[in-house]
Amino acid sequence: MAHYILKRLLSLVITLLVATIIIFLIIEVVPGDPAAYMMGLSGSSEAADALRIELGLDKGALERYFSWVGGMLSGDFGISYTYRVPVSQLIGERTLVSVPLTVYALILSTLIAVPVGVISASRRGSIVDTSLMGMAQVGVAIPNFWFAILMVLVFSTSLGWFSAVGFPGWDAGFWPCIKALTIPAVSLALPQAAILARVMRSSVLEVMQEDYIRTARAKGLSRRQALIRHGLRNAMIPVLTILGLQFSFLLAGGIIIESIFSLPGLGRLVFQSIAQRDLIVVKSIVTLLVLAVVLITFLVDLIYVLVDPRLREEGRG
């Protein structure tokens, strides 16, 4: 077990290291002169020179790379070029919007998908199953930003239920913020729920074929009891993987949704920074998102091992 975790941790660190190198190459080496790129066409050459010194671009690439990574390790992400505040502060503020939005969307998606998947599986081939899975097929095909536009159209204008866009800030209290995040979270959650429901359904179907379910039935449990007592926990394993993947997808995929709803989150920040050529912010956020993805994958693997004793054995070997 410890050996397995150590091995995984090592590969995690290597992945992160290579990722920072790639990000550094794309952002600082490939564009040629980052300072001129950041100033855009309108910038004067003096301004570009000043920026070059501020960014330390007069130093070699290797030195810059190490000072960037070293800075991040000590929590110093540099100063945003457009906002003129520490990047860490920007990221901190934005995370307080993006992470709650992502978690909210994941909870909604799970709350919808798990019952739908279980109902579909337990009534396999029925009208209920066919229509639920038909809806899921359509749900998978809907781009979340289009769904978001339709949601704004329906809820804010026709029904006038929620404020369409904007975020009041957590100082305004818990409920106003939850209200502001609701339509964005639903827009993010529904297409994800469609995917999750399909996985849940096939996972339940798979589990119901297992010997231990037959044993449970033989000792007198009904199909439903067998499913609830022995099947569900096992059926959740593949769902967990998808949830892990979706967390990272949603965290980064919020870019478009956050823009549509004018939510001051990480995604919108990184997109604006790309548009404003604020490369200092871009490289830090991309690195953080990669870190999040890698960490979540690692955690999911760990939970796997904890949930499934068979994998634990393999891990030891």
Binding site: Q137, P143, I256, V293
Partner: protein
């Protein structure tokens, strides 16, 4: 082949329709997609303009036709890149592993994991932002993320084929790694690759729409479904049809591809068929 799955039929018809529309748009659209007619702006959908007109009086139906063509072209090339690079990589990794070269396999697969660690949409946005927006860079950005998908799938399928007796026979006959991979492994995993290709195609359509929605895909005045939706966003309150049609077409196209993929899987995967048969008897 008498009993084609329903999903394959429905999906196939949808996909065929959009393909034909895309091809037709090369030679004919009802109106010129770039023709601006301010007097006729915001026309409701009707006989003159099947899907209405936008704020420049451009015909939405014509724009959707060309937008569909652009979406298909970008996705086709992007998935093609993923297959052309990913499949040989996967074959190589599996072949090396089965012949004592597990280091190569390890390196290739870790490289795969690395690409998976990058949030794909974000990276695509970064790539197109640094290298400039446009269809070509959108294709590259989407294509890169297709490589590991095909590599992993190919490797997985190939590893299971490598243990078969007929591979052993081929080895005994003196065939090399590469020949076995292409003559015996590849034909046997082509099924799963084709199914995956349809799924990746549908993902690419959404990715292309997302990129052009944020202004980084196909550039104006060449129409794209994603950008049409972006432009529609500020006008949906008085001209909702601007959002309905391009979005609906994306959904129908993706739905068609997914259904076709599901149907193909049912047809091509004998294991699945067996399981279904056992369900009936159980």
């Amino acid at each position: 082949m008498k009993h084609l799955p329903l999903s394959f039929i429905v999906g196939g018809i949808l996909t065929l329709t959009f393909t034909l529309v895309a091809i037709l748009s090369f030679i004919w659209t009802p109106y010129d997609v770039e023709a601006i007619n301010i007097a006729g702006k915001f026309a409701m959908p009707g006989l003159d303009h099947l899907m209405g007109t936008d704020h420049f009086g451009r015909d939405i139906f014509s724009m959707v036709m060309v937008g569909t063509r652009n979406a298909i072209a970008v996705s086709l090339v992007a998935v093609g890149i993923g297959m052309i690079l990913g499949v040989p990589l996967g074959l190589w990794a599996a072949g090396s592993r089965m012949n004592g070269g597990s280091l190569i396999d390890e390196i290739l697969m870790r490289g795969n994991d690395l690409v998976f660690a990058f949030p794909s949409l974000l990276m695509a946005i970064m790539i197109t932002a640094v290298f400039g927006p446009g269809a070509i860079n959108a294709i590259i950005a989407i294509g890169i993320f297709n490589i590991p998908v095909f590599a992993r799938m190919t490797r997985g399928g190939a590893l299971s084929i490598w243990t078969r007796d007929y591979i052993m026979a081929a080895r005994v006959a003196g065939k090399g790694n590469m020949r076995i991979s292409y003559e015996h492994i590849l034909p046997n995993i082509l099924n799963i690759l084709i199914v995956q290709a349809t799924i990746q195609f549908s993902i690419a359509i959404i990715a292309e729409a997302s990129l052009s929605y944020v202004g980084l895909g196909t550039q104006p005045p060449n129409p794209s479904l994603g950008r049409m939706l972006n432009e529609a966003q500020t006008m949906i309150f008085f001209a909702p049809w601007l959002a309905y049609f391009p979005g609906g077409v994306i959904v129908a196209m993706v739905l068609g591809l997914n259904l076709m993929g599901d149907g193909l899987r049912d047809m091509l995967d004998p294991k699945l068929k067996k399981r279904k048969a056992s369900d009936v008897t159980a």
